[in-house]
Each structure stands twice: as structure tokens, then as C-alpha cells.
């Protein structure tokens, strides 16, 4: 079995793969508008709890099947499972040790709460109303990133994230107003629990199974979904009565195809999302993934053309379209702004003899990704990642120069990086 470190470096630069993954996750999830709306309208109107339970558990079944299927060796490379192409860290289905599993359980707990709230709200409102407001989670994630001193968002990031979030909300508000009480539930409990879900998920992605093997996103997804479903079902017990049970039994086979199809899309969307999460800041990944709202516009349009009885007629409200267009511009400009502002550099450091161990001193500087003490012409090799060359100069290089015992440094700005 090839281990994670024995694989060729990718064809895309590190930055390209981060943006591709985050945007792909949003695009994939936007397609679920077809399955979700159809299922809610055709199969079970006004039965959010029943629909939620069927969808989530069938989703787990579908996800586990995918993870088992992709454990088979691929045709081209016999020694690699197919799942390698979804996530190079994947080798086989596995149970994580408790030090990783505790984050998965925590993530599942909050994921369960937010999922239940989502199904409850989506039944009373149009689900396309709830989704844009649930993107408000990005603001909470930004605060979480702010509190994490090593991952402090820069002014450019805050500006682009706000631009994306407000753009998404503008697009959302073009569809009409949401009940104030429901809106508060979305902004409060729903978004806070989904922020905590992302925070713990992100913690789990940064764990290692063995010294050189990172947690893979495929196994991570099935375990998070498993605990999410358990908690969601537990919390919805007070809402389950004979009627709900009856609906589950009666409508199971009508709902199943939509649920499975939707959850397969979600599975691949989450894999992309989680892989991006392991590479970058939570707020950046989530705001890139909110491209789903923009994708939702043409998709709903197509859906309305094909099946107006389900998706409703095409809107001719000019105010609505103005808001949609302004919102789209905000979102796209935010994404472009984020992607053009990222600088990586490698700094070679020589220290004076007898200066002792500077490893931790350098490592604690903000913006430093990693620092290695090496045996060579140089003593330390430092990798940094910042939002602008100016910031690299001020925040990082000057801080390194200030450390007592450093003799000279060479800065190499990275133009392209492949991992």
C-alpha cells in the first residue's frame, strides 16, 4: 500500500488546487437544488422531520457505499485505490483513534443541530431563502479565525469575505423576505452551530493518523455524517409522533431516489470542501464555497423552464434581478480579490554560533507556516505565507531579523508551488 508521502507532486500549483477545491465544493452543492426542491414539493410537502431523517440516513448509506467502492484498486495504478484520486490521503476504510474521533464527535454534534434547524426552516420557507442567510456563518468563522492568532485574517481577506457574504445575502433577499423570527434563528442558533461544526471539522483535518499520514477526508466524512445523524435523530425524537412515523413508512420509496442523488452530490461537495479546509482558513474556504448561491441562479432558471409546476415560473421582478446582479458582482469581485492576494516565501537563515535553539522563536512569529533546523550552509529554512509582499516584509522578515543570534537571511519569493 503506498503511503501518503510516496506520491508524485500534483500538476496544479498549491494555490490553484485550493481554489479549485473550494469553488468545486460550492458548484457541486448548488446542483442539489434540483433534488431538494423536487423531493420537498413532490414527495413530502410540509414533512421536514421525516424528510430529514430519510435523507440523512440514506445519505450515510450512500456515502459508506462510495467509500467502500473506491477502496478497490484502480485500473491504471494497481497499487492505489480509486479513492486516491478523490483524496490522495485515502487508503482504506478505517476507524480513527479517539484523539481524532473526539473532534469528529464534536463536529457531528453541532452538525446535527444545524441540520435539524435547516430542515425545520426549509419546510416553512422556500429553502432557497434559508441557504443564502446560512452563508452568514462565514462571519462567525472569520471571528474564529481572528481568535486563532496564527491564522489572523488580513484586511484584504476581511474585505473580500464581507464582499462575498453581503453579495450572497443580496442575491438571497431578491427572492423576498423571510419571517423575522425565522431569520433570527438562521443568524443565531443555525449559523453558530454550523460554525462550530466547521471549526471542529477543521481541527480534525489537521490531525495525523501516523507521523506522515494525514487524516483522509473520505473516512472523515462518513464518521462525521454518522455522528451528525445520531445527534440529529436524538434531537428530533420529541418531534417524532405516530404521524411522522407513518409518513416515513408511506413516502420512503418516493423520497429515496431524490435523497440518495442529493446526498451523493453533497458527499463529493463535502470531500472537496474538507480538502480545501485542510489547506486554508475556514472563512476563506466557506466564502469561496458560497459561489453555490450564484450557481443557483442559472440552475433555478433552467429548472423553472423544464418543470415550472415544481420550481415555479421564471421571475420577472426587475428589483429582484437587480439585486441578483449586484450580489453576483460583489461575490465574484470578492473571490478574485482573495485569489490575487497571496504571497508565499522561503527564508534561508544563518545564525551565529552559540546562539542556541531558535526554532521555536522563529516558529511563533505570525505568518510562519513551518521552520526547519537544517544541517547545511544555512541553519534554518522558514516557510511563510502572507497576503502581500509588504506584509511579508513588515510582519515576518523584520520579526525574524529582530531575533537575537541571527546573522543573515535570504528571502526567496515563491512564484509557483506544487505539492
Amino acid at each position: 500500500m503506498p503511503s501518503a508521502y510516496e506520491r508524485p507532486v500534483g500538476k496544479h500549483t498549491a494555490k490553484q488546487s485550493f481554489y479549485i477545491l473550494a469553488l468545486l465544493s460550492g458548484i457541486l452543492s448548488s446542483f442539489t437544488v434540483f433534488t431538494d426542491v423536487t423531493a420537498m414539493v413532490v414527495a413530502m410537502p410540509n414533512e421536514p422531520v421525516a424528510y430529514g431523517i430519510i435523507t440523512q440516513w440514506l445519505g450515510l448509506l450512500a456515502s459508506v457505499s462510495i467509500v467502500l467502492i473506491v477502496a478497490l484498486p484502480s485500473f491504471k495504478h494497481r497499487n492505489r485505490p480509486i479513492g486516491y484520486f478523490l483524496d490522495p490521503n485515502y487508503d482504506k476504510p478505517r476507524i480513527f483513534p479517539w484523539r481524532i474521533m473526539k473532534w469528529v464527535v464534536a463536529s457531528g454534534f453541532f452538525g446535527g443541530i444545524s441540520t435539524l434547524f435547516y430542515y425545520l426552516l426549509a419546510s416553512q420557507n422556500d429553502s432557497s431563502l434559508v441557504l443564502p442567510y446560512s452563508q452568514f456563518v462565514v462571519i462567525y468563522l472569520m471571528f474564529a479565525d481572528l481568535m486563532n492568532e496564527k491564522d489572523f485574517p488580513s484586511a484584504v481577506e476581511i474585505q473580500s469575505i464581507l464582499s462575498i457574504t453581503f453579495g450572497v445575502i443580496l442575491v438571497g433577499s431578491s427572492k423576498g423576505a423571510m419571517d423575522l423570527f425565522d431569520l433570527l434563528i438562521v443568524l443565531g442558533p443555525l449559523n453558530i452551530s454550523s460554525a462550530l461544526y466547521v471549526i471542529y471539522l477543521s481541527k480534525a483535518t489537521r490531525m495525523k493518523i501516523k507521523a506522515r499520514q494525514n487524516v483522509d477526508t473520505l473516512n472523515l466524512r462518513i464518521w462525521t455524517l454518522f455522528f451528525m445523524n445520531i445527534f440529529m435523530t436524538l434531537f428530533s425524537i420529541p418531534l417524532i409522533n405516530d404521524h411522522v412515523m407513518q409518513v416515513i413508512i408511506d413516502k420512503f420509496w418516493i423520497t429515496a431516489p431524490y435523497s440518495v442523488l442529493g446526498m451523493i452530490l453533497i458527499f463529493f461537495s463535502i470531500i472537496a470542501y474538507t480538502r480545501a479546509l485542510s489547506k486554508g482558513k475556514m472563512s476563506v474556504v466557506s466564502s469561496l464555497a458560497s459561489i453555490s448561491t450564484i450557481m443557483g441562479i442559472p440552475l433555478t432558471l433552467i429548472a423553472s423552464l423544464i418543470a415550472p409546476q415544481i420550481f415555479g415560473p421564471i421571475s420577472t421582478d426587475s428589483l429582484g434581478w437587480t439585486l441578483k446582479i449586484i450580489g453576483t458582482i460583489f461575490v465574484l469581485s470578492g473571490i478574485v480579490l482573495l485569489s490575487v492576494s497571496e504571497v508565499r516565501a522561503i527564508i534561508l537563515v544563518r545564525s551565529r554560533t552559540g546562539s542556541g535553539d531558535l526554532l521555536e522563536k522563529i516558529g511563533k512569529i505570525r505568518g510562519v507556516e513551518s521552520v526547519a533546523a537544517v544541517a547545511s550552509d544555512y541553519d534554518y529554512i522558514v516557510r511563510i505565507k502572507v497576503r502581500s509582499i509588504g506584509k511579508a516584509e513588515n510582519l515576518v522578515i523584520k520579526q525574524i531579523e529582530k531575533i537575537d543570534g541571527i546573522e543573515s537571511i535570504y528571502t526567496l519569493i515563491t512564484m509557483r508551488e506544487f505539492v
Binding site: 526547519a372 529554512i381 508551488e417
Partner: protein
Amino acid sequence: MISAYILITVELGKTQAVLDGLRNILQVTCVSVTTGIYDIIVRIDTESLERLYEITVNEVHKIDGIVSTTTAVIEKEFKTE
């Protein structure tokens, strides 16, 4: 397990060829193309010093377009997260 950085100077105009060559080495985990006193910085993760020697001598040094290399073996590493 042994990790090392290899600092590489590349012949003018051969950067892409060197990149393609490096990509074929399985133990290479990260390749950065940089400005400054070196052109490409490569990170290698492998089992032992011996294996590292084999990879640098038999694989890296044989890539056409590489002018010189400096290998820096990592003794200790500090990573955020």
C-alpha cells in the same frame, strides 16, 4: 524518517524541464519555484539517509538542466498546527 530540502540552481530556460523531472520522483513532497539566490526549492521525505543519498545522486542530479544543488537535511522541525 528523514526529510530534507534541496536548494537547486537551474540552467536558464530549463525550469519547466526540471520541474517535470522532479515531479517523477515519488519522494518529492513539495516543489517551489522561487526568485532569489536559488531557483527551485524541493522537499524530500524518505526513510533513511541512505535512501536520501540514492535519490539525490541517482535521480535529482541526473535531471537535465540542474546546475547545482545544496542538500539541507532537517534535524528538527516546528510546524504551526
